[in-house]
């Protein structure tokens, strides 16, 4: 899930990944019941996508099935589309005091603002310093904006490039295309709303199509 750190491209202000962690032998007691309580909070706030990597994301598997299949090995994570949702989520998680390690990945000044409003004090940071090495090997920026929304790069560059072409040619709608992407990400942090907006934006206002990331 490290790669939830390194999302790139346009419209990042509507894209906040949340992740819940536990440590074996430290805060994993009564895990499944606590996860169910956390999921209840997430459903109240309204994540556009979330999942358990062992079961899949809600765009593919029903929330009821995910909850039924929760185990000691489950890891729940997802994505919000607004800073207000992040604030509400943090307030509720603080009040519930479930003991999970809670991570928010996003544009820093926006995440900090939500933390302040929610009354939580950030503990540890993982800063994204960007990409290094032979960058000529990278896909173009518009493709990367979509592929980097999967924490494990399970959405292949070539599939995104081909789908973007199908959207431009009118063979598939941005909404349907974004769901096709979301279904390939097994953990539930893919933001299909942002993907849809990126595809619409690209059709109406190409930015750097073809430019390497």
């Amino acid at each position: 899930m490290t790669h939830s750190l390194h999302r790139c491209g346009r419209i990042q202000e509507k894209d906040f990944v949340w992740l819940l962690y536990h440590v074996k032998g430290v805060n994993d007691q009564n895990l499944v019941e606590r996860l169910r309580q956390a999921i209840a909070i997430i459903e109240e706030v309204g994540a556009v996508n979330w999942g358990d990597v062992k079961s899949g994301p809600i765009v593919k598997v029903s929330p009821a099935e995910i909850k039924e299949k929760l185990t000691e090995k489950s890891r729940i994570r997802g994505v919000f589309t607004s800073r207000d949702q992040v604030t509400e989520f943090l307030k509720k998680m603080k009040a519930a005091d479930l003991g999970f390690c809670v991570i928010i990945s996003g544009v820093l000044d926006q995440v900090f603002s939500s933390c302040e409003k929610a009354g939580v004090k950030p503990h540890t940071m993982n800063y994204s310093l960007g990409v290094f090495g032979n960058k000529k090997l990278l896909a173009d920026e518009d493709t990367l904006a979509i592929t980097t929304m999967c924490g494990h790069h399970m959405i292949p560059d070539d599939f995104v490039t081909e789908t973007r072409r199908r959207v431009k040619d009118g063979k598939v709608s941005p909404e349907k295309a974004s769901l096709e992407f979301a279904e390939l990400c097994p953990c539930g942090i893919f933001n299909q709303e942002r993907a849809k907006e990126l595809l619409i934006l690209e059709k109406e206002n190409p930015s750097t199509s073809g430019k390497k990331g």
């Binding site: 990597v53 003991g99 900090f112 950030p122 503990h123 960007g130 790069h153 399970m154 560059d157």
Partner: protein, 241 residues
């Protein structure tokens, strides 16, 4: 991954579902280059073939098992007991106290985004940062360390060097005063590898409290970070040292 060439009709539907370009059409059927294939199983897991030609390879060599564990996030690593690459970074620092006020965490996500990496390039980068003062996470914390013959130097077992994976994380800790040397080592070795890496720095301080970090970054031509993962400190019991 294998393709049943008796059943394959050469439609090419599977090709764009390969993360690393390991599938190609040859003599009107699809074939997999098993030296390039990273066993991520995107093609198989999503049942993309209309003729049902895709079959997972029997993974017998340690290298094949390793690349599958690293590249398929639904698989659990034996060493760490968690799915995927299983690194800790900042995620649980509020309860583990792994990163302290006198250190930085270094997270080098080799092969990301979407390029893939051969382990020989992973070794180059690991040895470069080890030489600059990075101490690597243990095999219980990260799968990569389990492959090192010497965790102090970052030397990886020769058997694994030709292995191609989708990505793998080099994770370690350095003293704060060593960060400059680590960045110099990375800026040098990035020119010597045939892949990319995404770089993360873990720090206990946040926001303007990280001004010394930002100053070191500026000194090495790197911008103040705009994105990050924030551990918001709700984990219990809170590590007190």
């Amino acid at each position: 991954m294998k393709i049943d060439t008796e059943k394959c009709v050469g439609c090419g539907v599977c090709l764009p579902y390969c993360n690393v370009g390991a599938i190609s059409l040859q003599d009107d059927v699809a074939v997999v280059n098993d030296k390039v294939c990273v066993e991520c199983w995107v093609c198989y897991r999503n049942q993309v073939c209309p003729q049902d030609c895709l079959e997972p390879s029997l993974l017998t060599s340690p290298g094949d098992v390793f690349k599958h564990v690293l590249s398929d996030p639904t698989v659990t690593s034996e060493g760490t007991g968690v799915p995927g690459r299983g690194t800790e970074e900042a995620k649980t620092n509020d309860v583990t106290g792994r990163f302290s006020a006198d250190s930085y965490g270094i997270c080098i996500d080799m092969g990301r985004p979407g390029v893939g990496v051969y382990m020989r390039d992973v070794e180059k980068v690991a040895m470069a940062v080890a030489g600059a003062g990075v101490r690597f996470a243990s095999p219980k914390e990260t799968p990569l360390s389990g492959l090192m013959t010497d965790i102090r130097t970052g030397k990886i077992c020769d058997e694994y060097l030709p292995v191609h994976v989708l990505s793998v994380i080099i994770e370690g800790i350095c003293k704060r005063e060593s960060l400059g040397r680590v960045l110099e080592a990375l800026l040098k070795v990035e020119k010597e590898i045939d892949t990319v890496f995404s770089l993360g720095i873990v720090s206990l301080s946040v926001g303007d409290g990280d001004e010394p970090l930002f100053k070191t970054l500026r000194q090495h031509g790197l911008e103040k970070p705009k994105r990050g993962k924030v551990n918001v400190g709700l984990g219990k019991p809170l590590y007190k040292g």
